[in-house]
């Protein structure tokens, strides 16, 4: 990932910062310029909760080149405790044990490495919630 793009995405990738429409209260993640519900342009900052439930997933067995070492792995959509849905890799879980409805926790992980010389990209992944 190009360093400038990674840098721009730190607020949501590192800190789960979302935008909350100041008019209708809709929470959007990542943040947007225009509210998809009411068209308002002013947002406040909210931090998403770090737990939720997995609502869907897909197992990747033939992965893009930068993720081949991790295959097979799952990409899932989770609904967080405040109702916001987001997509991330499901880590620390055998793909045969992933179930829709399982409790997840968000953890900070390395997302990808740009070869042996490039920048390291970090962000959020889902892991099974066990405590």
């Amino acid at each position: 990932m190009f360093p400038a793009r990674a840098h721009r995405e730190y607020p949501h990738r590192y800190r789960l910062e979302a935008g909350q429409c100041k008019k209708c209260g809709k929470v959007v993640f990542p943040r947007r310029l225009i509210c998809p519900v009411c068209g308002h342009r002013e947002f406040g900052k909210v931090i998403l909760p770090d737990t939720g439930k997995l609502v869907s997933y897909s197992v990747i067995r033939v992965a893009p080149s930068q993720f081949t070492d991790e295959a097979p792995y799952a990409i899932g959509i989770a609904e967080l405790t405040n109702g916001v849905k987001l997509m991330a890799q499901v880590a620390d879980c055998d793909v045969d044990n992933i179930k829709v409805g399982m409790d997840i926790r968000i953890e900070f992980r390395r997302i990808q490495t740009d070869g042996h010389h490039g920048v390291l990209s970090y962000g959020y992944k889902f892991v099974p919630k066990w405590y």
């Binding site: 730190y10 590192y14 800190r15 070492d69 991790e70 880590a91 620390d92 953890e107 900070f108 992980r109 390395r110 997302i111 070869g115 042996h116 390291l120 970090y122 992944k125 099974p128 066990w130 405590y131």
Partner: protein, 349 residues
């Protein structure tokens, strides 16, 4: 009065047993288990490194710190010998991830296995001097051990984070002490992937001399003796050394055991004695006295005397306990998976 406002740890969920490593190298597993006094070690997954472990440990420390706003943290120091970048600090990523930027001082520390306690030492000093309100010290490693070397049986991964401050303490830093000489018992030259060590030289003139020197100096400075402490935490390169040094100094097994994690965790290098301290704080009572002595090859030890406050009862379960991370929800991997996870297999780009 300065001390710990919040603490947290993180340990990866994967483990590999001594038998699995010994099987690959034709070594005698019972001899290694007896000699090193450990049965298994933690293994970081490919998406886990010193930075990710540090972020999770720091977030756990913030949970226990209560009302500390991350932007009030004026310094972040991460001690490790496995910083992911050769040039670019780990601390910048961690500070950004916990929301502590931009008014914060940052540096990555290195001193073999005592880099984490170095960070703690400096953070306490900065808070005590009044330069910063809070300071975050982290000891973390995804330790390297060359394939087939004795170190491979113990080099593991984990992190501990401590937010130091001057009010709302859960443990007061009664005093600190440092003991250091130039002793080449363990090193890694630039561009080398695995460290080298001096075999048995790492024992008497290195670990034992510095740990006993530091512990005795620390106790003399505060006018205390082993029986005055409820607990003691030593650096744990293996299971045997901390037990032996504790006996040499006059401590009982019961004082060492709560922070003696190596038999199930391995040596987390810069995280070793700091993680041991988190496990000890997890079970400590108000008024308990804890002696902590780190050790880093090269060589030196940092000593700390902690006095646990009433606040420990309020905060210990605000975040996951260290022994829970150590003993629950673990998955054992075979050597092939371990070699893949640790990038021990060379591939084409």
């Amino acid at each position: 009065m300065v001390g710990i406002v919040g603490y947290g740890a993180h340990i990866p969920r994967h483990r590999i047993k001594v038998e699995e490593i010994a099987k690959v190298w034709g070594a005698d597993a019972p001899s290694y288990k007896k000699g090193l006094m450990l049965t298994q070690k933690s293994v970081p997954s490919p998406d886990t490194d010193t930075i990710t472990l540090s972020v999770t440990a720091a977030r756990n420390a913030l949970l226990r710190a209560g009302k500390v706003n991350p932007v009030e943290i004026g310094a972040i120091y991460i001690g490790s010998e496995s910083h992911p970048y050769a040039v670019k600090p780990s601390g910048t990523v961690v500070a950004e991830a916990i929301g502590a930027t931009p008014e914060i001082h940052c540096a990555d520390f290195e001193f073999a296995c005592k880099a984490g306690s170095e960070a703690m030492f400096v953070c306490l000093g900065l808070v005590k001097s009044g330069y910063v309100k809070y300071a975050l010290a982290i000891g973390a490693d995804t330790s390297q051990g060359a394939p087939g070397d004795a170190l491979e049986y113990s080099a593991s991964a984990g992190a501990a984070a401590f937010i130091m401050g001057s009010d709302n303490l859960l443990a007061e830093a009664v005093d600190t002490y440092a003991y250091m000489t130039d002793t080449p018992d363990f090193w890694r030259r630039e561009y080398q992937f695995y460290p080298q060590h001096g075999g048995r030289f790492t024992g008497e003139p290195a670990y034992f001399k510095h740990v006993t020197g530091c512990a005795e100096g620390m106790m003399k400075k505060v006018g205390m003796k082993p029986s005055d402490f409820n607990y003691v935490v030593f650096h744990q390169p293996n299971g045997k050394f901390p037990m032996r040094v504790g006996k040499m100094l006059g401590f009982k097994k019961e004082q060492i055991e709560p922070g003696w994690l190596t038999p199930r965790l391995g040596n987390t290098y810069s995280g070793s004695s700091p993680i041991g301290l988190t496990a000890t704080l997890d079970i400590a009572k108000p008024g308990d006295m804890i002696l902590m002595v780190s050790y880093g090859s090269g060589a030196g030890s940092d000593g700390f005397v902690w006095k646990v406050t009433d606040r420990i009862n309020e905060v210990r379960d605000k975040a996951v306990r260290t022994t829970k991370l150590l003993d629950e929800n673990i998955t054992f991997v075979d050597y092939g998976t371990y070699a893949k996870f640790r990038h021990k297999i060379r591939k084409n780009d």
